[in-house]
């Protein structure tokens, strides 16, 4: 099983790298290009990337793909799936298929936005704590632990109660819930790498602290972090869905979680209202996880697969 995965992976990789080779020489861009090419050579990565690409295309092209606008009420409410209403209609007569297409926008945006925000906050704090150690580390690690012990849902409930629900608040709330994971990962990387001899050598060579943190250590730390960001995005989408399910999402936008929230009351009479949004969430999370798995396989800089074109 394992060997067949490898074999098919390498074949895919060969085909893709052959197409990409002219660009794939010594530039940084070339290295990312190679990573992408190798990613497509792994089964997980290829499937995950395909799912994500389709979802992204759907999110972007929703107005063109959807037969109805998300607010448009048709003459029938709670209609079962049919030729006219692919996924049926909901309690107020909106087309579920169109809602799901539009919902992809908010789910992906919240997922990516929150994951990137968490990376920014968690990454910065992780770098500071891991590189400077000492009192900086002591204080920041307590802050991280504090946030890890706070129940996310309670936190968001408070935030919504105080500020009302909005798209940006949602991103901030989800980011708040996941940044400690990023911080801990980056912190661990920096703690490990700062003790390496080549970093000591960089200090001896009188390179600035800024240079050491961002140019010497960061490229070595970034690989597992990228994988974590993909995983975080899937967690963010789940949290966003959970918040929507509790009725805490922005009422002015369509999201999958919110669709599930409404569907609660119609679980027995209109299964399509809950099954399709649920499936959409599942598919997205699976796509992100497969993508992260594939990345994990190819981003190790020491693997020869990561260095295509140089061997």
């Amino acid at each position: 099983m394992r060997s067949s995965t490898r074999a098919s992976g390498q074949r895919g990789e060969r085909i893709v790298t052959r197409l990409l080779t002219p660009l794939a020489r010594p530039t940084i861009l070339g290295r990312w290009y190679n990573t992408a090419a190798n990613l497509m050579g792994t089964r997980h990565g290829a499937i995950g990337a395909a799912i994500l690409l389709v979802l992204a295309a759907i999110a972007i092209a929703a107005p063109f793909l959807a037969p109805y606008t998300p607010l448009q009420q048709t003459s029938q409410s709670l209609a079962a799936p049919s030729r006219d209403y692919l996924f049926g209609t909901d309690n107020i007569g909106r087309d579920v298929f169109s809602l799901i297409l539009y919902g992809a926008r908010s789910s992906l945006l919240v997922g990516l936005g929150a994951a990137l925000a968490a990376l920014l906050v968690g990454g910065t704090i992780g770098i500071l704590a891991g590189y400077f150690r000492g009192p900086v580390e002591a204080v920041l690690m307590r802050v991280i632990e504090l946030f890890q012990t706070l129940p996310v849902i309670m936190l968001v409930l408070c935030a919504v109660a105080l500020f009302g629900s909005s798209f940006w608040l949602l991103i901030a709330a989800v980011a708040l819930a996941i940044w400690p994971m990023e911080a801990r990962l980056v912190y661990g990387q920096y703690i490990k790498l700062r003790e390496r001899e080549f970093i000591a050598a960089a200090r001896v060579a009188d390179l600035s602290t800024f240079h050491i943190i961002f140019r010497e250590i960061l490229p070595n730390a970034v690989q597992p972090v990228i994988v974590q960001v993909a995983l975080d995005a899937s967690i963010a989408i789940l949290i966003e869905a959970g918040l929507g399910f509790l009725g805490l999402s922005d009422p002015s936008m369509v999201s999958w979680g919110q669709l599930l929230f409404v569907a609660q009351d119609y679980m027995e009479s209109a299964w399509w209202m809950s099954v399709f949004p649920g499936a959409a969430i599942c598919l997205t999370v699976i796509g992100l996880n497969l993508f992260a798995d594939g990345l994990n396989e190819v981003v190790d800089p020491r693997s020869t697969r990561g260095m295509g074109g140089l061997q």
């Binding site: 010594p26 003790e195 390496r196 001899e197 080549f198 970093i199 000591a200 050598a201 960089a202 001896v204 060579a205 009188d206 390179l207 010497e216 490229p219 070595n220 800089p301 020491r302 260095m307 140089l310 061997q311």
Partner: protein, 279 residues
């Protein structure tokens, strides 16, 4: 073999260490890693430091160049002069300047650990270049250094990542990085221990050639008395943090004074031939 170094030298020795003590704190226990050692290197001299593991050879050399990560130093004292200048009292900044330009450099047993895995070799050599440029472009200086340590195709090596090189090539890259600051003194801490025999020979020959060509003093730490016999002018024998014998190489092999040195010499009956040209 070269003539043994003259003990009483004209002028100031390149490196003059007297009564240096390095006491480390290891898990709340005091370790007298180096306990009152006198140590001297003259200009363009090749000096060996031998002794068993834990005898303080590495600590001595690291204390002199003050590259001591991961240890808690309890006491670092003594008289430590480089070109007549007291370097024990130097600030970190002054010390870095000295290491960066025409001072001393160091190479290590494990070159891979000292190279950044995500940077190309050329860039890493470039980062170590001394600031005083003769107006030459950085790239030319990097390629010349790589050429100097014996790479046939420096341009190709410069584009490689460390993990793409063999052990011997990595050690050469380390040497190129060490030479980038144009040092007067190179510390080599067991530079060949991790390499296989044929590659050891090549790397040592390269070191010896650079020592000659650049008129650069070298202090080599080694377990291998064969290396000492072929390369070094003078030898320090260390045991439990103290120098038990300091002699010219010839004297050490002919008339070892200390019982420990005598045993070392006796045990090193089979020796490699380091003479002859590099291929």
């Amino acid at each position: 073999m070269r003539a043994p170094g003259v003990e009483a030298d004209l002028g100031v020795p390149l490196l003059d260490v007297r009564g240096i003590k390095v006491h480390l704190r290891v898990a709340d226990r005091l370790v007298r890693a180096v306990d009152g050692v006198d140590f001297r290197v003259d200009t363009a001299e090749f000096v060996g430091v031998v002794g068993e593991s834990g005898s303080g050879k590495s600590t001595l050399v690291r204390a002199i160049s003050r590259l001591m990560p991961h240890v808690r130093v309890d006491e670092l004292s003594g008289h430590l002069r480089f070109e007549g200048r007291d370097i024990l009292g130097l600030s970190d900044r002054e010390l870095r300047a000295l290491r960066r330009s025409r001072g001393f450099s160091m190479i290590f047993q494990d070159p891979l650990g000292h190279l950044n895995p995500t940077h190309r070799v050329g860039r890493q050599v470039a980062e170590a270049l001394s600031p005083d440029s003769s107006g030459q472009p950085e790239r030319a200086r990097v390629l010349r250094l790589l050429d100097e340590v014996g790479f046939a195709d420096p341009g190709r090596v410069a584009r490689r990542f460390p993990h793409e090189l063999s052990g011997g090539m990595r050690q050469r890259v380390m040497i190129a990085i060490a030479l980038a600051s144009d040092p007067k003194l190179l510390f080599a801490d067991e530079p060949t221990t991790a390499l296989d025999a044929t590659v050891q020979l090549q790397v040592l020959q390269t070191l010896y050639r650079l020592h000659k060509e650049r008129n650069m003093a070298v202090v080599i730490i080694t377990h291998d008395l064969g290396v000492v016999a072929e390369l070094c002018d003078r030898v320090y024998v260390m045991q439990t943090g103290k120098v038990v014998e300091s002699a010219s190489t010839l004297d050490l092999f002919e008339r070892p004074q200390h019982p420990y040195s005598a045993r070392l010499v006796e045990l090193s009956s089979h020796r490699l031939d380091f003479r002859g040209g590099e291929q």
